[in-house]
Symmetry: C2
Subunit: 147 residues, 2 copies
DNA sequence: TCGACAGTCACGTCGCGTAAACGTCA
DNA sequence: GTGACGTTTACGCGACGTGACTGTCG
């Protein structure tokens, strides 16, 4: 057991298995993200194997972090491209303004998601309390009947 | 518009539309819960219309409250039947003990779910902060370049 | 040449939404 | 007999899991 580590290629590129291990995403998920246009590998071998640069991996990790917001994949995609476009369009142009606004929208939406999560958490806690109360009531009724 | 209220039947039974309105669940959802064995109507008309007692409706409402825990439906179902079994098996029997333990397990799992929700909420907040920081950094870089 | 790793279909899952085509009720 | 209300059947979705079978790498 514990046979050889993951293939680290000489050219500094990584194939999907290693990427999966590093990102803790499944192969299926990584391929699905590619299909959805979220994170496309920079290259392929002549035989068709996907090849990821470190940057590609970074993008996958960003996707993973954004995923906790629970947005649909296509919105995550838009958010990603807005962020990347921002990064490369520095001047204070109209373009820049537009992108900033777009990202701000996403941030708002994400904040709403977070608020929604908080609400659900509260509801879950209440549901728990309720079940416990039922249990207590049950026990009491039980004692009452036993005398 | 606003034509006649929902059919309130003379026998105190309710058909699915009224139930949907009262529980705020869709018809589809109610039927699906039946299919899954979560909440089966006590009766049907000779023509096949589902008929729900007030108790049936209560059960649906309980299901709805439990749903915020985000458990898979089959676990919700088990929890439900454990709770109901508890209610009807009062004596301090081995049976009773077993059921209490089972419910306790579900409560634990639910608590874990709640904790998980809290974690996700925290992660979402962090992701938000991160995006904002990127935006700020972007702006600063921008100013730097503009001089 | 071998075995680990990769590739592409393609169907399964879960909790419903959304028709379509038809039957039942007051 | 006319609508409003109900029925079953079945396909769609989103984000993958899980094979099955085949091809590619060191």
């Amino acid at each position: 057991m514990a046979l050889g580590g993951s293939t680290v290629r000489k050219d500094g590129l990584h194939q999907i298995g290693e990427v999966a291990e590093r990102t803790q995403l499944s192969l299926r998920t990584i391929r699905y993200y590619e299909e959805a246009g979220l994170a496309v590998p920079s290259g392929r071998t002549s035989g068709g194997f996907r090849l990821y640069t470190d940057e590609d991996i970074g993008r996958l990790e960003l996707v993973k972090r954004l995923k906790v917001l629970d947005l649909p994949l296509d919105e995550t995609k838009e958010m990603l491209s807005a962020l990347e476009a921002l990064r490369s369009s520095c001047p204070e142009s109209a373009e820049q303004e537009r992108l900033l606004e777009q990202v701000a929208e996403f941030v708002d939406e994400a904040r709403n998601q977070a608020a929604l999560l908080a609400t659900r958490l509260e509801a879950a806690r209440e549901a728990l309390v309720e079940v416990r109360e039922q249990l207590l009531a049950q026990r009491l009724a039980c004692l009452g009947e036993r005398r």
